[in-house]
Symmetry: D2
Subunit: 346 residues, 4 copies
């Protein structure tokens, strides 16, 4: 049979969200976000995050990240991020472009996570050459990380503290924020602003939306003129109600957490099954909906021949990524595990 474990952004759109789009399509509405649906979205986010905040609906995670960077990073500034972060490796220089030429100070760190010691050292290092070095003004961390791991609340707090002490801002790339929140079992507030996070790229597309993200800004000063910046980047969607409708349905009745919990559960199942298979090594703790394995070419080829789709990881020979989504079915997980067991025994 086979199944697609390539990426959660290859999944379709959740039925609740399709329904919301249809519902939003009754009659005309003011454009560029000046509609009722977009207006009430802010209240919804305020309830979910238990604080006042600015909400900027968007259609791509790269745009959310790049706008966040631009708000906090002048052309002579620098963003401290992980060397494997999406922002650094997969966004074709979007942060540098949006900020007019800033640098990304990319650091190593176990399991795809930054650590506060490394961050402090990098800040100190930049400080040694005065105007000759870009100034670190933003720390960006990814929750869940590229490798499917999840920062603990304490880790987030420590990182935020290190950055705030240096006068920097903290951004969280939450392309898979729902999976992380579900994994930690904490409130969105705890994982973000209460831990010191200033801005969040709140992703919905990978977890059941069609194209919907939001840049959330907890400090009003940091949101200053973000609307103009969004327009200048071509990201002010004229029929914005259709982005807002997705986000509204996504947040309503905890749909976002339910969808993510399912994806996480499927990853958990798969992880447990993989641990039984000799020819497969798990590379990172499985804490959300991504699983990284090392396996022999034979296993990989066999799975693909059987119709299972997944990505090899760039630059890392023999390493593969399996991603579950809100609509991954238990049978799909069992099916790939069974296929692997057979291949491994051969």
């Amino acid at each position: 049979m086979g199944a697609n474990f390539r990426s959660d952004n290859e999944a379709p759109v959740a039925p609740e969200i399709m329904a919301a789009l249809a519902e939003a399509n009754r009659g005309p509405a003011h454009s560029y976000g000046d509609d009722g649906l977009t207006a009430r979205l802010k209240d919804l986010f305020r309830d979910v995050f238990e604080t006042d905040l600015a909400v900027f609906p968007l259609v791509s995670g790269t745009a959310a990240n790049a706008l966040a960077v631009a708000q906090a990073t002048p052309s002579y500034g620098a963003v401290i991020c992980h060397q494997d972060s999406h922002m650094h490796t997969e966004e074709c220089g979007a942060p540098e472009f949006y900020s007019g030429g800033s640098k990304l100070f990319a650091l190593g760190g176990k399991d795809g996570k930054l650590d506060a010691v490394g961050v402090r050292e990098r800040i100190a290092s930049a400080g040694q050459v005065g105007d000759h070095a870009s100034k670190p003004t933003l720390l960006s961390l990814t929750q869940a990380t590229e490798f499917g791991t999840v920062y603990s609340l304490e880790e987030i707090r420590d990182l935020a503290k290190a950055a705030h002490e240096a006068g920097m801002r903290i951004h969280m790339d939450g392309a898979r924020l729902a999976n992380a929140a579900s994994s930690l079992g904490c409130s969105p507030a705890e994982m973000t602003w209460r831990a010191g996070v200033d801005m969040v790229s709140f992703g919905a597309t990978k977890n059941g939306a069609m194209m919907a993200e939001a840049l959330l800004v907890f400090d009003p000063g940091l949101a200053n003129e973000l609307g103009r910046r969004r327009k200048q980047a071509g990201h002010l969607i004229s029929k914005m109600r259709f982005v807002s409708a997705q986000l509204e349905a996504y947040l309503a009745d905890d749909l976002w957490l339910r969808l993510a919990s399912h994806a996480n559960l499927m990853a958990r199942r798969m992880c447990e099954g993989l641990e039984e298979i000799g020819g497969v090594d798990l590379l990172y703790p499985v804490q959300s909906n991504e699983i990284f394995v090392r396996m022999d070419r034979v296993l990989c080829d066999g799975l693909r021949a059987a119709g299972f789709e997944f990505h090899g990881w760039p630059d890392r020979s023999g390493v593969y990524r399996l991603v579950t989504s809100f609509c991954t079915e238990e049978e799909e997980v069992e099916s790939i595990l069974k296929a692997l067991a057979v291949l491994d025994a051969a």
Copy 2:
């Protein structure tokens, strides 16, 4: 009763396009445009435009325009455009931002149109100060224009010739291309590449799509690395099939022309009615789906009190714009005309 004549981007989504979105939502598909729907879109555009071309699906017209500018305009370059063009007045500096600091050489011109004489003079003028002036590298014209007028094929050819002789490229902002094509009754090919146009911002959103535009590039060299530029701008939509599905439905069976013809017809009707009303002056020839009028404050207020919505035009006291769309109903037109007649008689 009242009706919304504020903008065609306040209209809902055409049912055919909603159906296409639902249809595209069956099962997983490869992301970032590597899906079957997006692949076959290129053939569809090739058929419609009767030539080979590069197609970049997008979600905003500003992004389409700004990417086109960036492809043809280095930071030291300049775009010649009309002083009332959307690109110059309503996109918050998107072309300048995308190109890293180019200038827009904004010219006047009757009925919202550039004329070849003015374009030639501006090019000559820039040439007089060598490296001290930005170099005009792109001509951008809007079809239909901001004022609802439409360039004739001959006008386009003359402008393209003037620009090409100076080594420049020609871009057409086609946010309302369908309305213009329908108005001229010519083929898309005649109005674009056959007349000398190199790139088109092909708009669908204002004419019945949810959020779908495409940047079309007729010269392969000019499309070089546009994909990377799109990604860097955050405009590579991960679930791109849902943009492509809109465009496919939009082009299929000439839906785009049928929708635009209806909008144009409604504008035509309204124009004929307005000519009968003494207190209303039509400011431009009505050649697509926009009508600009000058009228007394009393008429304006009366209409608004009766539930009719429309925009006053920035910086031009007493000037108002009425826009029809694919779903404007004949009764809506009759209703506003009737209301005006009553107000005017009072």
Copy 3:
């Protein structure tokens, strides 16, 4: 005999400044502005301008203007300036580039001067379309103007007030600040910060230096990280003492005002002579060291044949500019007047 009236930047370097360079060349000194000469420059400027200020030595006026723009204008911002300002017409998009894509809102205005009414209208106009328009954040005025006229203190104050009321900053392009100060007979303080100016591009090159300008910032907040911006633009000169030495000599004993007074006096003389010549029309009040005339091609050709050099003005047929400098000699002025009288009588 002939003489060069093309531009004051074609004049050589004043002997006092050459001497200062030789003097600065004794032994090693710390680089990048961390030298004693640069340190004491700040005090000198403070004395001249009677206030605390930040001083950034530079080597080009375009750099000074562009850095000033970048400090006060985000990518989504706009600069209000005169349509004939150097920044807009002769700097190849430097302000747009340095600011990452801002716009210049270029206004007309008599004698090369902005007027407060026009400025207020432009601000109001931009405010009508919200995030769709670039936000005016800086007003830039040129003192003396491109046409050799000089803003009165009252005019400066009015403009500054209009801009400050809108939350904007005020920049003065002072490529010929010395000529303006000498013309007005006022103190540098009166003409700048006391009149509401926040930043000055303080030019010395056109008035006797080799390559020396300074960006002066009166508000410490506005100077924030200007040092990093200067470095990122490649304008932190490693052997900066040689820029500072020029500026020190320029300011010492009012050399700058003496040099400018001479240039102005020569222009005055020439102006008086030109008024006697029938075939020559003076186009603007001669208030500094530039004279704009309209004259017949025959006169122009005759002068050039006699060895006099001067520029025709771009885009304005029959218009010529004559510039005097710190080293223009009285005989040169008399000589061109005599030549003109002969040609005119013929």
Copy 4:
């Protein structure tokens, strides 16, 4: 007595260059490079480099590097360079800024040098993620390197080949090109275009000029509109003859090589002396005019107390850099060696 070994850019200006400035100061000359001195400079460079080339006089090495990057690197492009290159660590993001948001792919490599294997791997790696990664379009190598080592001709050829095969351009940061040329004893042509280099930042300031560099471009296509880019960056010096005069004197009679040879010789002497001192470790082969040592804090403090000036290296505790220059005197070298011997024996 003491001596300054902090940097060659803290040295004064060579007398021949001061004389050339005085000579250039006779009477007026056309501005912005349209003068006779600048015109003949091109011929001089052509003779020295034995090929036709484009020459852009500049006043800062950062500007030369950043302009070179901008010519070859679009916003979505990347520069491969060494992780310790000046461009990456000490120019505050100038390359990123000038190119509108490109990335620097910074690689490790022994003795401050890139190696072709690493370069090929990095290119291959970027190629794996398509439009999601910045595209490497330029290789930049520094000759002599930040650590005072010098690439052999073969190393340069290998690197250039690796980059050219991938369609990239090759830039050489020659802030200390003279020292490298003198060290290799090869012709400038051999070390640059004959080895595959497309552009050179030709430095003079560190080797006896006041503020003079030149960007040399061997391929005419690559020099296209570089003049406009220079102007837009504020680096078109109005009285350019004073930059050109420095470069002319610098090249005349091999002054540049004589000055560099002396600096290299002084470094050689110092190196030989240091090898005798137990408490001092030399970190890299001394191949030009920079010496990196590790030594105890006691030795460092003792030297400084005795009036010797030199830099500790950022981020590397216990590491110091000693730089000789064209005017370092033998007595200064002997004096620091003697002081060290005494301190080491204590």
